[in-house]
């Protein structure tokens, strides 16, 4: 009888209930939308006559950066609200935003490098946009390492909230640097490219048809779904850790 009560208490404190219906629906819709946007980019959009097939990577390269923008943006929102209210739920959102955003920015960085090899004839160049994107990735990788190194939960949450807010500067610099620094070879698709830009192409109707759905997916569905899953997991991990400490103290 006592054992049953304990098990019940564990279950109450650690949410082992099935995925909420909305999250389940969101996961299915996201997976289908991901497959759909891939099909649009690989099958429906025409081949760029100058760049060849590699231009299709653009339908993931650019949206993945905006996906990272959403995720890191949620880290800022989570950090600000945590600092104001000290509600742990917002700290979980901030952490989840960093993990998902880092994965997206790695996709952005690596697909850009793979595109550059046949178009710029190099895997990497210390162009302002590429350099700022690499610094952004390293800044958020450092977030995860620092977070793992602070033992006190209260200090950890407060410190990482501040870090997450400040780190967003690297996202803004990466976003706007090609509008500010003229010595970039990175093309701008929306608006005028810098004079040195190499490998640009026109945002014609075929490009827009493949790009817009992909942008919408990476901006909204993909980061929100993944972050929601990660937040649920983190809530249970934290509860489990508390139980472990409790069990050890008993």
């Amino acid at each position: 009888m006592e054992a049953e009560r304990k098990s019940l208490a564990l279950d109450l404190r650690i949410d082992t209930s099935p995925m909420p219906r909305l999250l389940r629906a969101l996961t299915v819709i996201t997976a289908l939308a991901f497959a759909g946007t891939l099909a649009l980019g690989l099958r429906v959009a025409g081949t760029d006559i100058q760049q060849g097939e590699i231009q299709r990577i653009f339908y993931i390269h650019m949206p993945s950066f905006f996906g990272a923008f959403t995720a890191f943006g949620l880290t800022v929102i989570g950090g600000v609200i945590y600092l104001a209210r000290k509600n742990e739920a917002w700290d979980r959102i901030a952490l989840a935003g960093v993990e998902v955003g880092l994965a997206f920015s790695l996709i952005n960085l690596l697909t850009g490098s793979i595109w550059a090899r046949p178009i710029w004839n190099t895997w990497w160049t210390w162009d302002p946009r590429l350099t700022s994107a690499a610094i952004m990735c390293l800044t958020y990788a450092a977030y995860l390492m620092l977070r793992a190194g602070i033992d006190d939960p209260g200090k950890r949450r407060a410190f990482m909230s501040v870090y997450g807010i400040l780190a967003f500067v690297t996202v803004l610099i990466t976003l706007f640097i090609i509008r500010i620094v003229p010595e970039t070879i990175h093309p701008v698709i929306v608006g005028a490219s810098p004079q040195n830009a190499q490998g640009g192409f026109e945002a014609t109707s075929g490009v827009v048809i493949a790009l817009l759905p992909s942008l919408l997916l990476w901006l909204t569905l993909l980061p929100i779904t993944l972050i929601w899953h990660r937040v649920r997991l983190e809530a249970r991990i934290e509860a489990l850790n508390r139980l472990k400490l409790q069990a050890l103290s008993e």
Binding site: K6, L10, I57, L240
Partner: protein, 289 residues
């Protein structure tokens, strides 16, 4: 509640991007290229477009001139040129009156000039391509004129003047001396600035691009040599084959799947670890009782 700010921001960004992309969309600005499965050739404005599925062909009736681009599935350049001219124009070419090789940015080309009959001359640039031989030909069938268009490496690449190569072409193709012609004022055409020599029976033009001279000769009554030479050079310099880099696309997609797979996999892996730890805690709690 938690997701509302994110959704609002995402919606605003989507709206801004949509407006930006749609306003940037400009189908009219697309480069006017004829696209086949194998190559892309500039469309010549003002010329009648006679292109088919696998070849680009433009005809100017007033000058009785045709510019054609095709990939012929033969590996011997002479055979490929002969086959293409025969199929497209019904002309049989013998030995060329001029033949030379020239290294351009995209490979080694053969420049050939044929004197087919009293009315017809053919100028051809050809090079080996992955699917056979790429043949870009200019055929004029005006009995009042004989036209030759050719490319040759500069004898002195420090010069920005094609005169030495014009002299070679005039002598080797027309058997004349450049001294018979008078240097006229240069003309600026879409393909570049052309040096012009004119005489009673002949005119010659040339432009330098890279380390090569592009030469146009016309024997007979003065005509539209400038327009023909410009169209030929725009075809020659504007032509390109879409690169095959699909292996890089495959690599890019593999990277995307590996990173997303690692992210989703880590969620599953941590979830599994969590359930195991929970089961262990429950087991320990039961044993304590």
């Amino acid at each position: 509640m938690m997701m509302k700010p994110a959704i609002t921001i995402a919606a605003l960004l989507c709206a801004l991007l949509t407006i930006g992309l749609v306003s940037a969309q400009d189908d009219e600005a697309k480069t006017p290229y004829f696209q086949s499965r194998s190559f892309n050739a500039p469309i010549l404005a003002g010329w009648e477009n006679q292109s088919g599925e696998d070849f680009a062909q433009f005809h100017w009736a007033e000058a009785s001139a045709t510019i054609r681009t095709a990939i012929v599935p033969l590996d011997d350049i002479s055979d490929a040129v002969g086959a293409d001219l025969s199929e497209a124009f019904g002309i049989a070419v013998g030995q060329p009156i001029y033949r030379d090789k020239v290294n351009l940015a995209d490979g080694t080309w053969s420049a050939l000039v044929y004197d087919v009959d009293e009315a017809t001359t053919a100028s051809v640039m050809a090079r080996l391509a992955s699917a056979g031989t790429l043949v870009i030909s200019f055929v004029e069938q005006d009995p009042a004129a004989r036209i030759a268009l050719l490319t040759m490496a500069q004898t002195d690449d420090a010069l920005d003047d094609p005169t030495p190569e014009i002299a070679i072409a005039v002598e080797s193709i027309a058997g004349r001396s450049l001294s018979e012609l008078t240097r006229a004022e240069s003309v600026l055409l879409p393909s570049g600035e052309w040096t012009v020599y004119a005489g009673e029976a002949m005119s010659a033009m040339g432009m330098v691009f890279g380390n090569d001279s592009y030469i146009a000769l016309r024997e007979g009554a003065p005509g539209d040599l400038a327009a023909l030479a410009d169209a030929w050079n725009r075809t020659l310099l504007g032509f390109f084959i879409t690169p095959d880099n699909s292996q890089y696309l495959a690599l890019g997609l593999a990277v995307v799947f590996v990173i997303l797979g690692a992210l989703v996999g880590s969620l599953f892996w941590r979830e599994r670890g969590l359930r195991k730890d929970l089961a262990l805690l429950e087991q320990l709690a039961g044993e304590d009782e």
